[in-house]
């Protein structure tokens, strides 16, 4: 008589049950986190006019940008923040809509200590602008951003503006990832391209 076979089967069943429960829990956790991040926060896209021309698609976008107190405080303390405008081609999938990013424009907003001004550096245009206040700098971003886009096959264009927490200084990155006061995201908004 052998006592091992029955014990082994029982242990395998238990292990399988353990692993299944764990996977189920992790999936449900990930799902709930994903669902909770589906709401636009502080940033929004007000209007996008996209028209086709000989040079591609020309977009004219207007945004509503307001920073949290935390973000204001951070900028005042010399923390540079990146505000990213993203343009993407929306594609319908069986699970929803996917967005293939086709272009980006990044503005770095920082405080210049010696001049006590706020600098807004456009990395695409290699231009730096000085502003007395943060709101003036934000206003500069929010009004009529013009962008020429190539290689779009879709009749729609998705636009998003968000504060890029990935590019924050490492010291505050960890807290910014999981803090609501650092969430500034309009999420993707889809607009029709007029011919």
């Amino acid at each position: 008589m052998r006592l091992t076979s029955e014990n082994n089967i029982s242990l395998k069943k238990k292990s399988f049950a353990k692993i299944s429960l764990t996977i189920l829990f992790v999936i449900s956790l990930a799902f709930s986190i994903t669902c909770s991040a589906k709401n636009p926060t502080r940033f929004s896209v007000i209007n996008v006019t996209a028209s086709a021309s000989d040079k591609g698609i020309q977009t004219l976008s207007r945004f509503q940008l307001s920073l949290s107190t935390r973000a204001y405080d951070a900028i005042d303390h010399g923390v540079p923040v990146d505000i990213v405008l993203s343009y993407a081609e929306p594609k319908k999938r069986f699970w929803g809509t996917s967005y293939k990013t086709i272009d980006k424009k990044t503005f770095r907003l920082s405080r210049h200590v010696l001049s006590d001004n706020y600098q807004l550096h456009d990395s695409t245009a290699f231009q730096t602008h000085q502003f007395i206040t943060i709101d003036e700098a934000l206003k500069h971003i929010s009004i009529f951003q013009i962008k020429n886009l190539d290689n779009i096959s879709s009749t729609e264009i998705a636009v998003r503006v968000h504060l890029d927490t990935f590019n924050l200084p490492p010291q505050i990155r960890a807290s910014a990832f999981f803090s609501g006061s650092w969430r500034h995201d309009s999420l993707w908004t889809v607009w029709n391209i007029s011919s």
Binding site: M1, R2, I132, P170, I172, R173, A174
Partner: protein, 722 residues
């Protein structure tokens, strides 16, 4: 190695634990390094997420393991208590140092972060910034003054060539990298620049234009690159000519490299310091969070490892315990897997050897038991079929066992007296007292071998018992007693002796009787006429007496001859009822006032027997009954025939019942012996002949007292001839 083998190897707990440990170490290292700028934010994010997910998985596994262990503990499963104890010890051993390290690390971290911020350092940086700002402001004011002179010089100049010439002179004279005359709305009218500069790059923004339109001077210091800064001043240019719209003069002057570097250093230091000030709490929280995650991961991992280790230790013990349970339940073929080569492995191997030996011993015991059982059955069969009675007596002189024959010989059920003392049996069965007395006497004296003969009173009269006793070889005080009922043997011997006597009597007496009778008759004939009347009378009387006595002797000898004569049995179907009716008819009226009653079973089967012999038996018994009632005024004779079907056989019983005086007690034992009779006449051989014939026909005959008076003779014959 196939993929299946690889998966199997990887899915082993030890391998999984190893992989998890490596992952935790890697993630901990990465998360600790993520505060340095060589890791991108995205990588940082995913490292944290992976660590948190890993910790959640570990936490779940620990919780599930605890739940399983707790359930096993509640069920009382073998090994669960040991596992729980081991895990508790492991947990305690892990928790204490980990908690201490964590506590001191947090303290150290707090103090370390606080030490970064010193009031003197902050003041120094602020002073440096102020100094830098003052210095830059002075440069700025100098340039604004210069610019007011330049605007005066070109305020009324409208010729493009002249303007270009003057601007070139100004640029060259004051080391401006660029000097540009702008229209009111910011359009470039004329520009002069010394370096490879872009006009677009230095175009005034709407803030500057708004200030100019308001008639104010706009001045700012711009960063061109990491270590280069420039001073930009825009002043309105008003013409004295009426109707001419104001213009703006923009001059850009790079700051001296030394100034720029110093300013940049001060700027950078201030930025870093203020950033650090801002990041003080988030950084503290992040570092504590990181430390907590790493500690938690280590704790959970060590906890999982303790589960694995405790199971690994407890499993062989639980298997061993299960094995011992199996053995206790009688399963001696239990073999356990040897888990390792350590002490536990040796223990399991010893257990396997032990069960193997036990199994072998049990097989031998079974074999021995089977042989003993076979011998016992053989002995029981022998004892059961033995014609002798056998009883055994233990050292306490109690009846231990007996065979069926013993009960049958003694006419009691000895099985009811098992474990009774022999001494008590002497008084319990008074008719068997001599028998038990003999046994008690010999056994109490521990006689090794003994023999005795005793006569006891059985149901059918005296029984002669020969008793032999032997002490058992290995149980000195136990005795086996074998006894035989030799009553029939003695009776047969007696009958044979009587037969021999009868035969000799017949032979020795019968032969001279005829010559005696003839001689007496010849004497009478020859001498009757020769003697006188008186002598004639004497002669007549004596010769008659001789003849009569000879005749009587002849009858007696004939009777003896009949008794001694061998009976030739000729078996044929015999209807007992017809035979009894014939006998009754024959003797009807022989005895005055005798009422004869026949109570015959009509369904009586015919039996295989000798009709003539049976006729003699019944005739003798009826005659015997009638003779016993000769002197009575009222007499009655009843003849009954019945059938008895018993386990031992199918019998016909014939009862001949009289209302005579009954059997005298002194004759009861010898009633069927020759020459035993209570009657005045008769040879005394009638009942002896009845017994002899009946037994020759395979039957038995006995006499019982009839209630209220008289005797009943019972003949029992087998239906099937033996």
């Amino acid at each position: 190695m196939t993929v299946a083998h690889l998966l199997k190897a990887v899915s082993r707990p030890l391998v999984l634990l190893g992989i998890a440990t490596l992952l935790v170490i890697f993630l901990s290292y990465q998360i600790a390094n993520s505060f340095q700028s060589n890791i991108s934010g995205q990588e940082h994010y995913w490292i944290i997420v992976a660590t948190v997910v890993g910790i959640i998985i570990l936490l779940l596994l620990v919780v599930i393991n605890f739940a399983v262990l707790f359930r096993q503990y509640r069920r009382g499963e073998i090994g669960s208590k040991l596992s729980l104890r081991l895990i508790s010890v492991f947990l305690l051993l892990n928790l204490l140092p980990l908690f201490m390290v964590y506590f001191f690390a947090v303290q150290f971290l707090n103090k370390g972060i606080d030490s970064w911020f010193d009031v003197r350092v902050e003041q120094a940086i602020d002073d440096a910034v102020l100094l830098g700002e003052t210095s830059l402001e002075a440069i700025k004011q100098d340039m604004i003054k210069e610019m007011s002179q330049h605007t005066d010089s070109i305020s009324n100049v409208f010729s493009s060539a002249e303007l270009a010439r003057r601007l070139n002179e100004i640029a060259e004279k004051f080391d401006y990298s660029e000097i540009t005359l702008l229209s009111n709305n910011g359009q470039i009218l004329i520009s002069s620049f010394n370096t490879d500069n872009s006009l677009l790059k230095n175009a005034p923004n709407f803030v500057a234009l708004a200030q100019i339109r308001n008639g104010n001077t706009f001045a700012e210091i711009e960063s061109v690159s990491e270590f280069s800064q420039q001073l930009k001043v825009i002043t309105p240019v008003f013409s004295s000519n009426i109707g001419i719209p104001p213009r703006a003069l923009q001059a850009v002057k790079p700051l001296p490299l030394r100034y720029a570097k110093l300013a940049q250093t001060v700027e950078s230091a201030k930025k870093q310091y203020t950033q650090m000030q801002f990041a003080r709490e988030p950084l503290r929280l992040s570092l504590i969070l990181t430390l907590t995650l790493i500690s938690l991961a280590s704790l959970l991992l060590s906890n999982l490892a303790s589960f694995y280790i405790s199971r690994r230790i407890a499993k062989p013990l639980s298997v061993l315990a299960s094995g011992t349970k199996e053995v206790a339940a009688g399963n001696l073929d239990t073999q356990l897997p040897v888990p390792s080569n350590d002490e536990i492995g040796i223990l399991v191997s010893s257990f396997n050897d032990m069960t193997q030996q036990l199994s072998h011993a049990r097989q031998l015991a079974h074999q021995s038991q089977s042989e003993t059982e076979a011998q016992r059955e053989y002995l029981e069969t022998v004892l059961a079929n033995l014609s002798s009675g056998v009883i055994s007596i233990n050292e306490e002189l109690r009846l231990e066992s007996c065979n069926p024959r013993a009960s049958k010989i003694l006419n009691i059920d000895l099985n009811n007296d098992i474990d009774s003392e022999i001494a008590d049996l002497r008084y319990k069965y008074e008719n068997l007292t001599p028998f038990f007395e003999a046994i008690y006497h010999a056994a109490s004296k521990s006689m090794p071998n003994w023999q005795d003969e005793r006569t006891v009173m059985g149901n059918k009269g005296k029984q002669f018992l020969i008793i032999q006793g032997t002490q058992l070889p290995h149980q000195q005080k136990s005795t086996v007693v074998v006894f035989d009922d030799v009553t029939n043997l003695i009776q047969a011997q007696k009958e044979a002796a009587w037969g021999e006597v009868a035969r000799r009597l017949a032979h020795e007496i019968k032969n001279p009787l005829t010559p005696i009778q003839l001689s007496a008759e010849r004497i009478k004939t020859k001498f009757f006429n020769q003697v006188d009347e008186k002598d004639q009378a004497i002669l007549e009387k004596t010769t008659r007496t001789i003849v009569q006595q000879v005749e009587a002797l002849k009858n007696m000898v004939s009777a003896f001859s009949d008794y001694a004569q061998a009976i030739n049995v000729e078996q044929k179907p015999v209807n007992i009822n017809l035979l009894l009716e014939d006998i009754a008819e024959l003797h009807h009226g022989t005895l005055n006032n005798c009422q004869m009653t026949l109570d015959l079973d009509k369904k009586l089967p015919e039996i295989q027997s000798d009709a003539d012999a049976l006729r003699q038996v019944f005739n003798n018994l009826v005659l015997n009954a009638m003779q016993s009632m000769e002197d009575q005024k009222h007499s009655a004779l009843t003849i009954i025939s019945e059938r008895h079907q018993e386990p031992s056989g199918d019998f016909i019983t014939i009862k001949i019942i009289d209302l005579g005086p009954g059997i005298k007690p002194e004759l009861r034992e010898t009633l069927f012996d020759p020459y035993v009779s209570s009657k005045k006449k008769g040879s005394g051989l009638g009942l002896a002949i009845v017994k002899r014939i009946t037994e020759n026909l395979g039957g038995i005959v006995w006499a019982e007292e009839n209630s209220p008076n008289g005797t009943q003779f019972i003949v029992r014959l087998p239906v099937e001839a033996s």
